[in-house]
Subunit: 195 residues, 2 copies
């Protein structure tokens, strides 16, 4: 028997409240403090409601972020005709997000859970990361010398900043973002393989 | 009153047994399965002995790895005169380690704990990571065009492979390692900034 419309509406309201609560709490207090209890209290639902739909807090954060991404539509890189300027914009924005202790808590959560579970990592990759990487890949098309793997080209922009953020090896500043874009573009530019 | 020599020797034997047990267990069964109980049983000590010296399993793995690094002496990059060949050797070895589910468990453990605690991250950086990054930095000296931050130059080699490993975005093969070295060197080479 199908659920009556009221129950479906109530379910959907609870589900949205849980996702919103998780994102609000993680940004306010960090992933370490995020518990199912806290999410349930904030969302005004019982813990059992949460466990009926999710295995743990990581899955809730992933779904919440994935819905945000879906609602925002496919991410687009600006295309002003100036590749370097467009990439600086994106890399600066990512570096600024990583440098912000609150904003970066979502990335921290997804990275920790990805390192702990392969199936979780694959979901993060396919639902969150791949669409972001693909926008950079698309924007680089036609600007990269022949023979370079486009996935590796994108990693040259994103790998260094995540490494620096994760391992706290240096400052995450606008100057750093610009220097990274300069260097990665120098690697990809036609003619750069001739020493 | 100073400890009698026998007690000191016994302490040192226990400490070494605990560190060895942690490394053996993590390589055999992974970090998820590593518990203080399992380490105590394998080392033949009581759990209280472990908790007297360490706060948790992450700290034990860190100390164990740091002692290995210290015992092995400062890491050295080969210097055959052929920079590209030397870097390929190092990057291939790192990629092979990351591609190995058992060998990479120690890196996984240290990364997860680094994302969870800033003071832990700083210890990993200073005791394990920095000496490794510095060997690459030293080897690059004199081969990088003026104005490039040496720390960023090193990140160009290590960032992409850790990103790929962590987020499972592509294969970790010898071909990948070589392509990464080619690309990073192309960025750093004198003249690469002239498009």
């Amino acid at each position: 028997m199908p659920k009556p419309p009221d129950a479906t509406r109530r379910s959907e309201r609870s589900r949205t409240a849980i996702l919103d609560a998780a994102l609000a709490l993680i940004t306010e207090s960090g992933y370490a403090a995020l518990t199912i209890e806290a999410i349930a209290a904030r969302a005004g639902v019982g813990k059992q409601t949460i466990y009926r739909w999710w295995k743990g807090r990581g899955e809730i954060v992933l779904d919440a972020l994935a819905e945000q991404v879906t609602a925002a539509g496919p991410p687009a890189l600006p295309d002003t005709g100036d590749l370097e300027a467009d990439l600086r914009l994106v890399v600066r924005a990512t570096v600024a997000e990583l440098a912000d202790p609150k904003l970066s808590e979502i990335t921290r959560a997804l990275t920790v859970e990805s390192l702990t579970s392969e199936s979780f990592a694959d979901q993060v990759r396919d639902r969150i990361l791949r669409p972001q990487l693909d926008t950079i890949k698309d924007r680089l098309r036609g600007h990269v010398r022949a023979g370079i793997d486009p996935d590796l080209a994108v990693e040259l922009f994103v790998g260094p900043m995540y490494h620096r953020w994760m391992l706290r090896t240096g400052p995450l500043t606008e100057e750093y973002a610009d220097a990274l874009v300069d260097l990665a573009l120098a690697a990809l530019r036609p003619g750069a393989d001739r020493g």
